[in-house]
């Protein structure tokens, strides 16, 4: 699968909340897709980490979510919309170490309060919005051209 400079790639992935055994499957697939398209390996790592953290958040905290991968010659973008409890205080959720994780989540090796800060750290642009009781939206962008690259 090769991408000419004019072609845009887009794919939707459904993520099921609470499905701990499949958690990470979507991000593993996305990483394969990015490799096949021929994205720069340093961007693949950053994008894979961000999608994995975002996917784990849906599995841990939401009922379901849809992750949309969109690639143009200029940027790689993940849009994630989930239905779930949402985040009461985004400012606190963005602090390293702040977590509302349960023991089950911690047994999976997650829930240390590093997820959202780590997504932000790896992305070139990161936006988050949430409505408590409804869900959370993430917009995660990686620049593929030279400008604005980390």
């Amino acid at each position: 699968m090769m991408m000419s400079s004019e072609v845009e790639f887009s794919q939707k992935f459904e993520i099921t909340g609470g499905d701990f055994s499949s958690a990470g499957r979507t991000s593993t697939s996305i990483k394969e897709i990015l490799k096949e398209i021929g994205i720069d390996s340093s961007i693949i790592i950053r994008a894979s980490i961000a999608s994995y953290e975002a996917e784990m958040n849906v599995v841990m905290y939401a009922k379901r979510g849809v992750l949309t991968l969109n690639i143009t010659p200029e940027k790689l973008r993940f849009k994630l919309e989930d239905e779930g409890s949402g985040i009461e205080n985004i400012e606190m959720a963005m602090q390293e170490g702040f977590s509302t994780a349960t023991d089950e989540m911690r047994e999976m090796g997650f829930g240390a309060g590093m997820g959202l800060p780590n997504i932000k750290k790896n992305a070139d642009k990161f936006e988050i919005s949430s409505t408590p009781g409804k869900g959370t939206s993430l917009d995660i962008i990686f620049c593929l051209d030279k400008t604005g690259k980390k």
């Binding site: 055994s21 958690a23 990470g24 499957r25 991000s27 593993t28 990483k31 390996s41 790592i45 894979s48 980490i49 994995y52 953290e53 047994e107 999976m108 090796g109 997650f110 829930g111 240390a112 309060g113 590093m114 997820g115 780590n118 750290k121």
Partner: protein, 120 residues
């Protein structure tokens, strides 16, 4: 240090990846917390962990780890082994606990992941 030397130092059992024991490992990191591994892991890392669920292998794959060593005699479940096989990640298991396993490798010259990034 090769993965074979690491296997011998840790008296480890190879769960999968016998054919990859000559791969060169230049740094390692140990954690049971995958959140930390995702935050501090670097491509090429040897990951030592006591977390034996499928997430340990998925995390290793996401960060392009060279191999995973399970401490305290732990072994991943079938799903973890299948993911490792699909992605070509060697898995080893040592009876040593985390501190001893890391100490043995460090004292034989294998750098920690943070030491490597600080040198840059």
């Amino acid at each position: 240090m090769t993965l074979r030397e690491i296997k011998e130092l840790l008296q480890a059992e190879v769960i999968i990846g016998d054919e990859s024991l000559d791969v060169e490992i230049t740094f390692a990191g140990g954690s049971d917390l995958m959140s930390d591994v995702l935050a501090f892991g670097k491509p090429g890392i040897l990951l030592l962990t006591g977390l034996s669920n499928a997430q340990s292998v998925r995390t290793a794959n996401i960060i392009d780890a060279k191999a995973v060593v399970y401490v305290r005699g732990k072994k991943p479940d079938k799903m973890g082994i299948d993911i490792a096989r699909e992605n070509g990640i060697p898995l080893l298991s040592t009876k040593y606990m985390m501190y001893t396993a890391c100490g043995l490798l460090f004292s034989h010259g294998l750098s920690g992941v943070s030491d490597v990034s600080q040198k840059k």
